[in-house]
Structure formats: C-alpha cells, structure tokens
Amino acid sequence: MDEQELISRSKDGDVEAFNLLVEQYQRLVYNLALRMLGNAEAAEDASQDTFLSAYKAIGKFRGGSFKSWVLHIAANSCRDKQRVARRYHIISLDTLLLETDDLPQDNNTESPEDYALRRELGRFLNEGLAHLPEDQRLVVILSDVQGLRYEEVAQVTGSSLGTVKSRLNRGRTRLRDFLLQREELLPSKFRLNK
C-alpha cells in the first residue's frame, strides 16, 4: 500500500493505516525531537504528541509532502516542550551526551573502531547543536542531519527560502566555531584543521 493510500484511509478513520505511517516516520520524528530537546524522555513525549496531533488533524492535510507535514507538527511539539522547559528552568544540556546506542550505519563496512569513533563524534556534535539558537538548530538538523532539501525545510519551519538559507549558514558557522574551539576533544580523524 503506498503512502497516498495510507493517508486516504487514515482520513477515513482507519487507525491501522495511520499507524503504518507512524512506523514509517517515527524514527525521523524521534531523532528530530531528541536533537532539538536533548532529553530522551521529553523527546518521547514530543514524538507521541506529534502523532496524536497528526491523527487528529489528518483530515486537514491537503496533500504535498506528508513527511514535511509531520515534521512541522513535530517541530511545533518541540517548541511547546522547550517553552515548558524554560518556564520550569529544566536544563536539558546534560542530555546531550545522548545514548546513541544505534547499530552501525553500514553493518558490512564499518569497523568497531569506526563505529566507536562515530558515536564519540555524535556526542560531540549533539553538544555543539545544543549551543545553537533554536531556529538555527532546527534548520541545521533538518538539512544536514536529516537531509531535507531547502524547500522541505522551509515547509517544516514555515519560513521563506531566504530565511532557511540564512539560518543554515549562521548555524553551520556557529557550529564550526564551537568545534574549532574544542578541536582537541574531537577524534583526530575528524579534526577540522588537519
């Protein structure tokens, strides 16, 4: 069953069809939430809120990219969580040492050493992302971590293309500066000034 049919059946109230869409996008949504919030528990809540909101609002989905639509809801859920965290002074930076206990990307080619290095790098980059302003962090994650095109990023963030490009440029530069300042902590393989 293709995505359009799943969406159409979801609009008719078929929760099983909707849950197939959830299974398809939950990893993307959870990873966005985790990197935006830096807290596994908050990311779980935001992800669940995202799919509950999406199910309630599926009737209003007017076509286009379902991925962008779901990520737009996810970005809003993250914003809500961040607002609450700010209100109650919840500091989430501790989380940035995330449990990236994921399987190696290329099971056949990546050595255990490379996998360990990549995990180390992941921790370091998460810390760098946490130092970005929220609007820049969202754009950098969507574009460079999740691989969305500029147009998709603009749809998710509800911004113009020019704003997306500008935030991406500033976000990358700021992250690069963060990495350069702590370059000695980076695995030598990944140092910027070789």
Binding site: G13, L34, F51, T100, N126, N169
Partner: protein, 240 residues
C-alpha cells in the same frame, strides 16, 4: 574565524559558502565564489572547515526509537447520554435554564410577580377570605400571622399596628371562607363591605421560591454534566 584581507568581499563570499557547499548557487554566483577562493586563502580555509562540519553532521548516528509511537482509538462503544456528543445540547440547555433563573430572580427582587388579585399562594397559608358582618365582634379572637413577624397576633392587633397583609390561622373560628360580602378590613376603616384580601408570603400564584431553588439545582447539575462530557471527549484518543 578565518580573517581575509578584502574583508567586505570576504564577508559577501562567506555569506554564500553554505549554499556553495550545497551546490545550490546559480552559475554566476558559483563562478564568483570560485574566482575569489583562488586568491583568498582565508576564505578557502573557511570553506574547508564548513565543508568538514557539514560532513560531520551527515555522519551523525541515528538513534533507535525506544518504543512505538502508534496511536490507539478506543473501540466504538455505546455512548452514555452524557457522552461527548451531548455537549451539543447541554450547553444551550444550560444557557436557557440559567437565563430563566436570572429572570425569575430579578423579578422576585423587584416584586414583579406579586399578585394583588389574591389568588392562592400555593403554600396554603394565605386565603382569600370574605368575612361576615359579625367579623368585627370576633376580630379579637381571630388569630393571624404577618409575613416577617414571628408568631401569631389577633386581627385587631394587626389592624391597630397597621399591617395590611396577614394570613388567617387555619384554626381561627372565622378562617373558613364565607361567601357573604362584608365591609373591607384593609387599613383602619374597619369592615366596609368590600372584599378582604389577605396575601401570602410571596404573593404570587405559584411557588416562586421553590421554582428558583429548583432551577438553581438544574443549572448546577447541567454544569457538572458539561464538565463530565468534556472530560469524556479528551479521553477519546490515546498512545499505543
């Protein structure tokens, strides 16, 4: 981070490096950048460091989901009379009853419902009485109650004090309605043959106070049902 000599030109180039890395510049801008990079080492270093940063971000490991985020919808069940859909009629019904109650309370406060025709008040303590000519002789023995005054007093006393509204005590010897016309006992003039009007507490033809209390209770119950129905509605959809 990397300072070039031609600062204004370098600033312009660095503002476009991100798009250059993503290969999303038009050919004219792309050529402009490349020409500049050939002569500016600082901007070349800037480009290289940004490119490595983007490559590092591309290599970020993805995290597995700790659990499924599928949603569940409760099985369709027979909705109670006060389920979520009952909000459609609960709200207007509550509004109507509340408006009626307010009108009644205002009318009561302004004595708009008092009935000078002297109909039965509904409490049974006010009677439309016509007294016989012999009433004057027995008014000392006729006991009455006056609204707002505790206890009983003789009709003669009530008249002497100046009360114009009183109710006959049922055991009074002249409390039974007598059809023969008598003089009025209103005021100090004594019986004149007109009808005697004795008004009850509320002075209306129906139990106003009880109606107000009843409507208040109905409004309270309806509000409770609205709160209940709203909670039922929010429970509808949940996590899987």
């Amino acid at each position: 981070m990397f300072r070039g000599k031609g600062e204004p030109l370098c600033r312009k180039v660095r503002g476009m490096l991100s798009e250059y890395i993503d290969n999303s510049l038009n050919s004219e801008d792309k050529s402009f950048i490349e020409r500049h990079l050939e002569t500016c080492e600082a901007c070349s270093k800037e480009l290289e460091s940004l490119r490595v940063t983007v490559q590092l971000l591309h290599r970020m490991p993805e995290v597995s989901v700790p659990r499924s985020f599928t949603v569940t919808v409760p099985q369709p069940r027979r909705e109670s009379a006060f389920g979520p859909s009952s909000l459609r009629w609960l709200r207007p019904a509550t509004a109507i009853v509340a408006i009626v109650l307010v009108v009644l309370l205002m009318g009561d406060f302004l004595h708009a419902f008092e009935n000078n025709a002297g109909v039965n008040s509904g409490r049974g303590d006010a009677t439309y009485v016509q007294l016989a000519p012999s009433y004057a002789a027995t008014e000392q023995q006729t006991m009455v109650t006056v609204p707002g005054i505790m206890g009983q007093m003789s009709l003669a006393t009530a008249k002497a004090v100046g009360y114009t509204e009183y109710a006959m005590v049922p055991s009074s010897p002249v409390s039974q309605p007598i059809t023969q016309p008598i003089p009025s006992v209103l005021g100090d003039e004594g019986p004149t043959g007109a009808q005697v009007i004795v008004r009850g507490e509320a002075g209306v033809g129906w139990p106003l106070r009880q109606t107000e209390i009843g409507l208040g209770a109905v409004v309270f119950v309806l509000l409770a049902l609205i709160i209940f129905a709203r909670r039922q509605r929010t429970k509808g959809i949940g996590a899987g």
